[in-house]
Amino acid sequence: MDRRLLTTLYAWLLVLPAMVLLVAFTHYPTVATFWASFFSTARGRRPANFLGLDHYRRMITDDPVFLQVVWNNFLYALVTIPLSIGIALLMALWVNERLAGRGFLRMAYFTPTVLPMVAAANIWLFFYTPGFGLLNQIIALFGGPEVNFLGSPETALWSVMAVSVWKEAGFFMIFYLAALQSIPPSLKEAAKLEGASDFHFVRRIVLPLLMPTTLFVLVNAVIGAFRVVDHIVAMTGGGPSNASSLLLFYIYETGFKFWDTSYAAALTVVLLAVLITVSVLQVTVLDKRIHYR
């Protein structure tokens, strides 16, 4: 009996360091956030009052910025995820072929991933600058009108999307490239002998075999799309008039600029709920259709 107790104690002691870290930085903050979302923000001598679901009611009925930010983020995910995955797949298929300068191409595609997001955002700031920015100079070359990409509500969100597609595609390409290289070349030869075209081979053989990678990339892309904050901060600050503001950026603003921390907590709970729902859906629905080797 004593011996078993001792073993149990050992086990807990071994788990302890990891548990302390997890509890302190993951579990406790999650629970605390959830709890705080039911209270008002304490200010000065005014303590936090229990509000129940008031914060959540406010989001839907009384916060047009929240609704716009959710719509922005939805649009952002809907455009950037398929686009960056599609481009990643095309790039991977291309640089997986035998071609001159293959190593250079692979490196070139992957470079944006290595750059910090803030650095990438700064490079793109120069491209987007009105007047002498690269894109405007090109437009001027063809006699087009000057466009203020980041300064007008119609183009700001799309400009930010372009940056993240540019940055994410190279990252996803690496996963696809690794998966492509694990497909034995004899499969392609067998398909060729049977008279299958390259397109047929990609559609019927390569894409199904890449599905596990696609699921992995997709989950990552969705999480990424709802966590974007750095290049918004660096490029637009969410403006003009919240046109390029996304959920996490709005949470950041609410919490650390307006210091309405408990409303920010409620927003965070919504964000978490969205991420968990989407991930679970992806894994359960797609998993059944995926062939794992």
């Binding site: 034995p184 030869e189 067998a190 002998l193 062939h291």
Partner: protein, 396 residues
């Protein structure tokens, strides 16, 4: 009539030459085996015939048509890959039918061919499974089924049995051979296993360094190797090769004083190698090659004696469990017909003094006829078909 003709076929990869202009004729309905050590060009040859690789120069004709510039699918052939190349996400049936769907064969016809192939190879119960749920032997059968539903008369196989265990390999050898007969296919089969080549082929094409070393029926390859390399590559264990040197009476094994194995006419002889099959050597009481047994390799039906002769290793295969102990001295005898001579310089077989019968190698000791018949290489009884017509002298 899918007869395959290779005409000066060459493949270079940059500086290295994988295939140095080979000429080869494979007859319609023949089971041809491309045999050789790794890097000899046998797989390259197969891939060139399949169209998976492009020849640097030379032509390939299948069935009288020049297919050198045609894509693989337009050459009227099927292929079984070493790793089977089954599509892992498709069921057995889908794998087998993949090519027919690509070629838009009507579904009734597809079903008929699938049933036939599944019937021939005993895959009926497995059609809904995925390749990962099959054993190695079953995967092999699926790959074969995929090759035969195309109903092309030429089938290429790239070391198809190398991933199977020994017992299954023997079974599949027999099965593939039977399949080839039954469907009347021309088969080109690549292997590095000489035993596999001997047991399956009508025509063995032994390759080395991108050239054809010998192109012959199995029995001829075994009994009359054209080069020292052919002699040393074929047989388990392969032919003994010993350097010869001139002595007063004639040629003897280097480092020994006799017996004389071939008489010389006094003229300057090139350096020669002596070749003797291990099973041609039998211990006897009379005069023979004086050897010291250094080791025994018991193999059940017979025993390989590892012997020392003038500092050279000599292997002798004797029936049963040999009583000779390591360290004992023996006389090994064989008949003149069992001796082969090769030039040490280029490895070519040398016919010693054919003009003068007195210069024929002398018979060493009196070996009984029983020993002779025992020593001739066993041929499976089912190999009754005559060897296919062969082209003229093989190029090397």
């Amino acid at each position: 009539m899918p007869e395959v003709v290779l005409d000066g076929l060459t493949r270079r990869f940059g500086e290295t030459t994988a295939l140095a202009g080979i000429d080869l004729v494979i007859a319609d309905g023949a089971f041809a085996v491309l045999l050789g050590p790794s890097g000899c060009g046998k797989s390259t040859t197969l891939r060139l015939i399949a169209g998976l690789d492009t020849a640097t120069s030379g032509r390939i004709r299948i069935d009288g048509t020049d297919v050198t510039d045609r894509p693989p699918a337009k050459r009227g052939l099927s292929m079984v890959f070493q790793n089977y190349a089954l599509f892992p996400h498709l069921s057995v049936a889908e794998n087998i039918l993949f090519g027919l769907k690509v070629r838009r064969v009507p579904s009734a016809e597809r079903r008929r061919r699938l049933e036939r192939a599944a019937d021939i190879l005993g895959l009926g119960q497995l059609l809904a499974r995925k390749p990962a749920q099959l054993s190695g032997g079953q995967q092999q059968r699926v790959a074969l089924a995929r090759a035969i539903v195309a109903e092309s008369r030429l089938c290429l196989m790239d070391e198809p049995l190398s991933n199977l265990d020994a017992k299954l390999r023997a079974e599949m050898r027999h099965e593939i051979r039977e399949l080839q007969r039954r469907l009347d296919m021309t088969m080109i089969y690549v292997t590095h296993d000489q035993a596999e080549a001997l047991s399956m082929a009508d025509q063995v094409v032994l390759m080395r360094d991108g050239r054809i070393e010998q192109d012959a029926a199995p029995a001829e390859l075994y009994e009359r190797p054209a080069t020292a390399f052919a002699a040393s590559f074929v047989g388990t264990p392969p032919m003994n090769l010993l350097p010869l040197e001139a002595s007063a009476g004639g040629l003897v094994v280097a480092g020994t004083t006799g017996p004389v194995l071939a008489e010389t006419d006094g003229a300057q002889q090139p350096d020669l190698l002596l070749g003797i099959r291990p099973e041609a050597l039998q211990p006897q009481d009379g005069p023979g090659l004086p050897v010291t047994v250094t080791d025994l390799d018991y193999q059940g039906a017979d025993t390989v004696l590892v012997c020392d002769l003038g500092g050279h290793t000599l292997l002798a295969r004797v029936p049963g469990h040999a009583a000779a102990a390591p360290g004992s001295k023996l006389q090994l005898a064989c008949t003149a017909a069992d001796l082969a001579f090769f030039s040490a310089a280029d490895g070519r077989r040398v016919a010693l003094s054919a003009a003068d019968t007195t210069n024929q190698p002398r018979i060493l000791g009196g070996v009984t006829s029983w020993t002779r018949s025992h020593c001739s290489p066993p041929r499976p009884s089912w190999r009754s078909s005559p060897p296919p017509p062969r082209p003229g002298p093989s190029s090397s």
